[in-house]
């Protein structure tokens, strides 16, 4: 999944099981592996395809979260990412003098037809499930832990028992239950013809989202909830803190200049003054 995985509180056998779990998910859901099931689905766009039960479950979850975020976190942004030049693993993605392609707005999660294991995505579209898959795998891996501990993939955590977590821009918080995740534009970014792009794409425009935030951290009942909430709040722009507050989700926002603000839900739990 192109990120570092850290596990605390696991014996050798559990650690091996977690390693196998991440490898299996990577093999199924990688957009960059031509032999993955996701690549097969994207290649068959426009035609009905029978997918595995695990794939159908993960996609169903992605679609439910797309509905819950009012389409902010949409699994149909795959073609938009390809058009912007995110075609390989980030480690292989350097500056490219060639310009990015024309922006391709996402067709929208409502146009994905999934009935049991039978799937059809709109012709010319592509799915990108990386965000949900990574955080769901973190949750599943944390469920394998024998006792207290945590699992982290690229900074998205699921905890079993209270864990003190260092935050972007300084400071720390104790995650008592659930997960904590950060989304932002500072890591997965690349340049095309001098223009910088990042992976958090606005589904409506097909362009990398322009928001006041550099990083958004959210805490969820699960790592998936935290990750999706963080991404949605990032994409919601200046309305991100209020968007999370309406759902009772704690959020912490680092602005481009490094200024840190938190929403009311975060302030109520952690005791920091909230932004107004």
């Amino acid at each position: 999944m192109g990120c570092e995985i850290v596990v605390a509180g696991a014996g050798d056998r559990t650690a091996a099981a977690i390693r196998r779990l991440f490898a299996a998910r990577e093999a199924t859901f990688s957009r960059f592996r031509p032999d993955s099931e996701l690549s097969a689905v994207n290649t068959a766009a426009g035609r009905p395809t029978v997918v595995s039960a695990g794939f159908a479950r993960m996609l169903e979850r992605s679609l439910a979260l797309a509905a819950e975020t009012d389409g902010l976190v949409d699994p149909t942004v795959g073609a938009a990412l390809v058009a912007l030049g995110y075609t390989r693993d980030l480690s292989e993605l350097g500056d490219d003098p060639a310009p990015a392609g024309a922006p391709r707005p996402a067709p929208g999660w409502r146009r994905v037809e999934l009935c049991g294991r039978l799937l059809r995505i709109p012709a010319g579209s592509a799915l990108d499930l990386n965000g949900v898959v990574k955080s769901a795998t973190v949750d599943d891996a944390a469920a394998l832990l024998d006792g207290d501990g945590f699992v982290s993939a690229g900074g998205d955590l699921a905890v079993r028992g209270p864990t003190v977590v260092a935050l972007p821009g300084g400071g720390a918080v104790s995650a008592v239950r659930g997960g904590i995740a950060t989304s932002g534009s500072t890591k997965r970014r690349w340049r095309r013809a001098g223009e910088t792009h990042h992976h958090l794409v606005d589904p409506a425009t097909g362009r990398s989202a322009e928001t006041p935030w550099e990083a958004v951290t959210a805490s969820g009942a699960t790592c998936v909830a935290a990750d999706v909430a963080a991404r949605a709040a990032f994409l919601a722009g200046a309305g991100g803190p209020a968007w999370l507050d309406r759902r009772g989700i704690p959020g912490r926002f680092v602005a481009a200049g490094g200024t840190v603000t938190v929403n009311r839900s975060w302030a109520a739990m952690v005791g920091e003054p909230a932004c107004t």
Binding site: C3, V6, A8, R61, A64, L65, A67, E68, K134, F150, S152, A153, G154, G155, D156, L157, V159, P162, T163, V164, V165, A166, L167, P168, A172, V173, S174, A175, V176, R177, G178, G179, I180, A181, T182, S183, S185, T186, K187, R188, E214, T217, S219, G220, A221, T222, V224, A225, D227, V228, A229, R247, G248, I249, P250, S265, W266, M269, V270, G271
Partner: protein
Amino acid sequence: MDSERSSGAARMASARRRAHRAKVALTAAGLGCFALGMTLVQGNVSGHTRRQARPLAAPKRFQKAVRRDALDGGLLAPAQAPPGATTSVS
């Protein structure tokens, strides 16, 4: 001769009318018996629905609650110790 022919035609017409009425009465009786039988079966035989069938899917309200729970907030507290883990931009 003519009077014999006309009385025969009248008897035929009368017989046709009676036959038509008998058919209508038999059809109506058959439909009535079928409807009565179906009603009795629906009310008394297990496996026949007594009320309109409802879909097996979870009610919309329940689905909505589950969806909302999928994006539920976590539980945080002020840090009382040095960090043991890190969340960073992914």
